[in-house]
Symmetry: none
Subunit: 224 residues, 2 copies
């Protein structure tokens, strides 16, 4: 879950930011001062930091520089001052974005997403889905069992991905035929055969499947 740290001294504003961002699905922590914020970030790094510019003690600029020195985390400034001079100074200090209060939560959230996206496209090229000891890397066309690569055929791979995209959900043979084979109609036994082959490769004991489970009369599902 995306983690955000909010550094803001005004209790009311901080609380409202925290609540609003939680509503948007972020895991949020708050800090009431620059020092507190820096410590929090050191101990449990958030992947985005929101900073107010006017903080008691060490001012916001110093806080940004310090964060930047320790970490490469994206920093968004939220400030009441909408003065070009401040904006430039904050960005030069290392901030990635600057918003003027009052901020629209929707905009803030969209800007956080934009920042996160930019980071991700360059940083994390491969997404992973994990089911216990079973890892699935869709873009890499790779599957690993206890870290060891497993050689799957195209159909097996697609079947596994389809199931993995709906963890714990039962998919009927019909659904699988349509999504994996793009058949409108077809022999449902075909699915059985491929499930069987897949089990030989990813299950220790294909008689007692741990991941790829049969739900009699309904279909198959993939579980953790």
């Amino acid at each position: 879950m995306p983690g955000v740290l909010v550094i803001e001294d005004d209790d009311r504003i901080r609380l409202s930011l925290v609540l609003a961002l939680e509503d948007e699905g972020y895991a949020v922590r708050g800090a009431a001062s620059a020092e507190e914020g820096l410590v929090a970030q050191r101990e449990e790094p958030a992947d985005t930091v929101l900073v107010d510019l006017m903080l008691p003690g060490a001012d916001g600029f110093e806080c940004i520089r310090q964060l930047r020195r320790e970490d490469d985390v994206p920093i968004v400034v939220v400030s009441a001052r909408d003065d070009t001079h401040d904006i430039v100074a904050a960005l030069e200090a290392g901030a990635d974005d600057y918003l003027v209060k009052p901020v629209a939560v929707k905009e803030l959230s969209a800007r956080l997403r934009a920042l996160r996206r930019r980071g991700r496209t360059l940083l994390a090229p491969v997404s992973t889905m994990a089911f216990g000891d079973l890892e699935i890397l869709p873009e890499a066309g790779e599957v690993r069992l206890r870290g060891e690569p497993v050689a799957l055929t195209r159909t097996e791979f697609r079947l596994l991905c389809e199931l993995a995209e709906h963890p714990g959900l039962v998919l009927s043979r019909q659904q699988l035929l349509q999504r994996v084979w793009e058949y409108e109609i077809g022999d449902e036994r075909l699915v059985d055969v491929h499930v069987g082959r897949l089990r030989q490769k990813i299950e220790d004991d294909s008689r007692a499947p741990r991941y790829l489970v049969t739900v009699r009369g309904m279909g198959y599902k993939l579980q953790k």
Copy 2:
């Protein structure tokens, strides 16, 4: 020199933006429409693009989406409308920042620098890419295997770079044809042939490739 592309239909505004940014030390080109901008970016990619939202013909959002589809270049929107709804829509479409006209040139410049910096810190290790004993130096146009230079043809080199830019990711023959050959359509076997030739040069045993791996039914990938 950092290159910026300004897509803006109003001649006066475009010109003033171009001049102002040139003053700040950027190499700037202008485009008066979305279409012109897309073509310009295709032919000679700038490393940041500025887009006006209100363009004649294809609107700005569509332009952003198209840019994003073709390229990973940072996009900054400059618009007269300061409406949360527009801002969110632009960011969702793929923009990285959004500024409301009239823009302070100093702020614009600072934001461009911030964006560029974020790009670079994450993109930096591109200058030399390593896959085990295989080193790729894109700028130098050089490839080394265990320190020894390997002579590659232009096509082989481009193919290798394209794969190397997405380490571990499977690229389909279609994708490779488009990116390396700039063919929209073409015989996919062509890719096989060049992969084969590349393997002869960079693999010890081209029958059991260590780096340039075939993912049957999907494409090829380069792995560590």
